[in-house]
């Protein structure tokens, strides 16, 4: 067995140990919080939920595991507006993120290209970019709701506005810092500007652009949960809020798990794309 594989196995085993310690600690914490059942009317106890039975409000890991398993085995059921499978909710969120992110990429990358090519545009637009970039995307929400008057499009707009900045800034930077030598090669070969843009500048800046896209999709996925909590209706953010209103901590924890998984997958996809365009000098 190679040293590399040995390292990986050791790391994997350590990960499992961490998980086991965490789950065990969680379980012990819940057990410690549980006390004897209060002496009360059984009907009232049923309404009050687990606490009346002397149990902790926190679910045990096994409860959450069962809930997650339930979601995995039946992700797409639809039993009315407030009871949809987690697959459907995630699909709504992913669709919004991809729409907003895609629109942002369509604008940010060509615009960043132009800004990166022109010192003048860079200087003229930089103050606005620097001013708008630190604004929390949710601050746009009231404005979006007022002007667009559609909660669905408003949440897409918020995703759009939050994912545009990292892509714009990275594209500008990547294009502006293409090695002079490469541009000079293109010039001595009398390459037309459009061909230079696609054959030289784009591949040279691609790793930086992809990094920007990766940051953007990460932010977009963070923001969609908050946006859907505000807007309501559908989506994983709404799902979390709904579970909270149902006082189902089990549901909240399992939703957190799924949000994490989807975020990780989105990042992995862009990470792979980044490897495709990476180059070693």
């Amino acid at each position: 067995m190679s040293a590399e594989w040995k390292d990986r196995l050791t790391a994997g085993a350590a990960s499992l140990v961490f998980l086991a310690v965490f789950l065990f600690g969680w379980n012990a914490f819940v057990t410690a919080q549980s006390g004897p059942a209060a002496d009360m009317d059984p009907e009232l106890a049923a309404l009050l939920g687990p606490q009346a039975k002397g149990e902790s409000a926190l679910p045990r890991p096994s409860d959450v595991g069962a809930e997650i398993w339930g979601h995995i085995t039946n992700p797409f059921y639809d039993a009315g507006p407030n009871d949809k499978g987690i697959g459907i909710q995630l699909a709504y969120s992913i669709a919004r993120v991809l729409t907003g992110f895609g629109l942002a990429a369509l604008i940010a990358i060509p615009l960043g290209f132009l800004i990166g090519m022109s010192r003048l545009a860079q200087r003229a637009l930089d103050p606005y970019i620097q001013l708008l970039r630190p604004v929390s995307p949710l601050a746009w929400m009231p404005l979006a709701l007022y002007t667009i008057k559609d909660s669905e499009i408003s949440s897409i707009f918020v995703i759009f506005i939050c994912s545009i900045w990292p892509m714009l800034i990275n594209t500008t930077f990547g294009v502006a810092t293409v090695r002079r030598d490469w541009l000079n090669v293109a010039r001595t070969l009398e390459v037309k500007p459009l061909r230079t843009a696609f054959r030289v500048i784009l591949p040279a800046a691609a790793p930086t652009i992809l990094t920007g896209m990766r940051i953007s999709i990460g932010i977009a996925w963070l923001v969609i949960v908050a946006a859907e909590m505000l807007v309501g209706g559908t989506g994983i953010g709404y799902f979390v809020w709904n579970e909270w209103n149902n006082l189902s901590i089990t549901g909240v924890i399992s939703a957190i798990f799924f949000i994490g998984v989807v975020g990780m997958v989105l990042d992995l996809i862009l990470g792979q794309a980044a490897r495709l365009v990476a180059y070693a000098e």
């Binding site: 090695r179 490469w182 010039r187 180059y279």
Partner: protein
């Protein structure tokens, strides 16, 4: 070598905004020299005399503050496929393979060629610089010498009228540099390729050049004189030092780099120096004395 002038450098001058913020500093000025068809000209000078700037102006990548570069009868205003440049750092595109880098140049030169035509053309130049078998490697997988071979192949593949080289071997180790110089010499001689190279390596200049342009230190650098190589054609790196003219050549160039490049301004005052016709020198072994002939 023919009488046809491929390049005429006429009174070239370059000024930069002074670092103190006031006025301009002249890097070099009154630079006059010619390059004939089939000739190999080297330019020697210390760093800071604007050698790279001069080459960039000749390539059309930079603008002169005064004077002209005439290439094939036309004023150089922008880069042209007739003047290939080999850059100091190889300047290969790291995301393209060896073949891709050369094909990028070839397809720019002959956009109407079919893919088969282009690949066959590229292949012949890859073979020429002995990189057969590395066609599909990326630059990062190549050694420094191999990268510069690709640079040479890319420049040659567009069949330019003149090849402009900016210290192409300065980043290489001595052994690699030596073998690349030998190969370049062979290729250039065989193809009768007009070439201009900037260097600060005296042996490189003696090996490769037919004529060597000596440039004084900047600012206000001038062409001090033009040295004709008195070593016979067909010289090689291994035997050139046995020729009686080798040491006179070498000593003359070292003397220039060590002393005269700094004190040339005083020398100027005492001689009838005409920048349009810098003196031509032919350093030779005794009994023939190094005689100055007006060109």
């Amino acid at each position: 070598m023919s009488d046809k002038k491929i390049i005429k450098v006429e009174g070239l001058e370059r000024r930069f905004a002074s670092t103190e913020g006031k006025g301009e500093t002249q890097i070099f000025g009154e630079v006059w020299f010619d390059i004939f068809e089939g000739e190999f000209v080297c330019l020697i000078g210390h760093s800071g005399c604007g050698k790279t700037t001069l080459l960039n102006i000749m390539a059309g990548l930079d603008q002169a503050s005064g004077g002209n570069v005439i290439a094939d009868g036309f004023n150089v205003e922008k880069p042209s496929l007739e003047r290939a440049v080999i850059f100091q750092g190889h300047a290969l595109m790291p995301w393209m393979t060896v073949m891709g880098n050369i094909d990028f140049a070839v397809s720019s030169r002959w956009p109407k060629w079919t893919k088969e035509q282009r690949l066959a053309h590229c292949q012949s130049f890859i073979d020429l610089v002995h990189l057969t078998g590395s066609e599909n490697k990326k630059p990062a997988q190549l050694s420094g010498g191999m990268k510069q071979r690709v640079g040479i192949a890319r420049a040659l593949a567009i069949e330019p009228k003149i090849m402009l080289m900016d210290e192409p071997f300065s980043a290489l180790d001595a052994l690699t540099r030596g073998s690349l110089q030998d190969e370049l010499l062979g290729i250039v001689a065989e193809r009768n390729q007009t070439s201009f190279m900037i260097t600060h390596d005296i042996d490189e200049a003696i090996l490769l050049a037919d004529r060597i342009v000596l440039m004084t230190n900047g600012p206000e650098a001038r062409v001090c004189e033009i040295v004709e190589n008195t070593l016979p054609k067909g010289r090689t790196r291994s035997d050139m030092h046995t020729h009686p003219n080798y040491y006179p050549m070498r000593n003359h160039l070292i003397e220039f780099l060590v002393n005269r490049s700094k004190t040339f301004k005083e020398e100027l005052a005492s001689t009838a120096y005409d920048p349009k016709k810098p003196p031509t020198v032919r350093p030779m072994a005794e009994p023939e004395r190094p005689n100055k002939v007006a060109s």
